[in-house]
Amino acid sequence: MRKKLSKLQSNKCCYLGTLENPSIRDFLTGRIWLRDHSPYSEEQINQHIQLGFISNLPGVQKLSHTNYICNRCANKNPTLFIKYHCAACENYCVYCRHCISMGRVSSCSDLIKWIGPAPKKSSNHPFTWTGTFTPYQQKAANELIESIKENRTHLLHAVCGSGKTEILFPAIHECLKQGKRIAVATPRTDVVLELAPRLKQVFPNTNTQVLYGGAEIDNSYAPLVIATTHQLYRFENAFDIIIVDEADAFPYTHDETLQQAVIKAKKSSSPIMYVTATPSDKLLSQIKKQQGGYSFIPRRYHGKPLPVPRYDTLWRYTKRIESGKLPRKLINWTHAQIQGNRPFLIFFPTIALMEMAIPLFQQLDFNIQAVHAEDPDRKEKVLKLRAKNVPGLLTTTILERGITIPNVQVAVVGAESGIFTSSALIQIGGRVGRSFDCPTGDLVFFHHGISVEMDVARKEIRRLNQTELSTI
């Protein structure tokens, strides 16, 4: 309020009540927000609605007799709407269960959007990256900028460890220079946490927001937003470019409303840049149909080939672990890594099996730990592995992507299990040999019978390694 008055005194042609509150403007621009959860008072919001700066819409809207749509997450699945007698409006109300973890949206709760003047944009975005590109990286970086200029969708198909984050830097810088707003979205919180410090480091003067479940909300306008795809439910018509990193990761590919969220969060003419090491056939054909740009990086930045998995039998491993014993081959493999002082990851198909195995591994080395999706200490444990404070981790597929640990050795237990799809196996293999100093490492698929997916993964890795290097 005080800010507004001082602005008034310096600008006599305006009178009280027609200026927007810059804080509300900066916060709400591009957002679609639950009115009851906004950091501003009812009075302030009402005033801005009267001035035509904020629009107000019901959270849930009726489409037909039995069908509804959630105006925040665009969910239309009838089983995810609940109708009940509501004590607030003293009538029958419908709420959306699909996005309820972000605060309940119902037919009697309003959503607000900013429709007033746009925030002041800065084009001063110093870019402080000093690295150099390989010819492959340089070509892809140029192609991305080309697509941004042409406003077309683009797929960056880059093998694990090709330095794809760096390839995005010049494209992001180009957008920022043009005063555009850009979101880097990814299905995985781990990937958000890995990306955020790297982007903040190379764009030190750019206001950057990092959004994921449980993150603090700040009220400023950020031209660069790094978020889980889930958080994009809370944006509408906001971004000039959206980069979807790890576009093939769960749950993005399985949840149509998340794909909807990306489309809703961007401006209607804005392009999407997809980044993945393992594009699905669906994504490839979608890019082709939209005549989007395509960049392919078959080589890691250090130029060494991708590690090719070796197969090893581990008959009846489930029974054996259930009976309280680790298979001999698994003991030997783990011992070898501990002896060689090499950090290791051992992937398990289920949490249940991993939890049975962890005490058995701790008999080999007391410091071995396990991580899974609901583990609140996941981040710390990965950092400990990187710092060599723990010799190795047992994990579910949650660590299949986004993490880089120098010289890590990888074993997959039960590689034939359904959860290990070819793209999951390629991603897991992509953890090995990422660093310049240790470009190789062991990648072993322990199995109880070879699956088709295992063979597809190995074939694809070999194909990538054999791709002609002279295509530039």
Binding site: P78, T79, I82, Y84, H85, C86, A87, A88, C93, Y95, R97, I100, S101, G103, R104, S106
Partner: protein
């Protein structure tokens, strides 16, 4: 359109067990994995002879309560309907829910205790009303113990010569239930016990 688990969204496989067939038990609305995360309070673990609690306050229960009360996901009223029904269906007593303040009711949009009972098919009577709208959890434990009167008898309340059972979601210090019980005893109730979903 098959049913999904209300907590983890995985598809539910409905099984017709003998209990469900003979005793007309309700179909579960959560999957066996989610159900196994809740811990029943065993008879020797009950903290008070007058208060019967159904579940411990563990991580899963904390999440449940958060989603039901704080996120206002009213459909979760069905999650424990069988357990609540089993605890109360053959009891000869008048069931009295701990009431909510009308202001609180407006913000939560439903009475969470009443809804648990409705879902379990247990008839109940409101005999008490909440005086202060102050939230229990916002006060410290010691502050709660010496707090002022929380309830009063409703004007139209008619106390009979029968047993009474108070219902609350969670018992921590027991102050809330003690106060409610004292009012009913004073009004002439011969015996007052309590059932809570959770023991904190």
């Amino acid at each position: 359109m098959s049913a999904i688990c209300l907590l983890c969204s995985k598809p539910l496989k409905h099984q017709l067990t003998w209990n469900r067939f003979i005793f007309n038990e309700q179909q579960p609305v959560i999957c066996p994995t989610c159900h196994s995360k809740f811990e029943c309070v065993k008879p020797e673990q009950q903290k008070s002879p007058h208060v019967h609690a159904l579940f411990h306050y563990n991580e899963a229960m904390k999440d449940f309560l958060h989603q039901y009360k704080f996120l206002k996901d009213i459909v979760l009223k069905d999650v424990f309907r069988q357990e609540i029904a089993n605890a109360l269906k053959n009891v000869d007593a008048i069931i009295v829910p701990i009431p909510m303040h009308p202001d609180k009711m407006k913000t939560r949009t439903f009475a969470h205790i009443d809804e648990l009972l409705k879902a379990a098919g247990i008839p109940y009577t409101h005999l008490l009303e909440k005086i202060s709208s102050e939230s229990q959890s916002s006060k410290s434990k010691s502050g709660r113990e010496q707090s002022a009167q929380l309830f009063r008898l409703k004007l139209d309340a008619n106390i009979e010569n029968r047993s009474y059972i108070l219902i609350d979601d969670i018992v921590t210090t027991g102050t809330t239930l003690e106060q409610a019980k004292a009012i009913l005893i004073e009004a002439g109730a011969p015996s007052v016990k309590a059932l809570t979903l959770i023991q904190g």
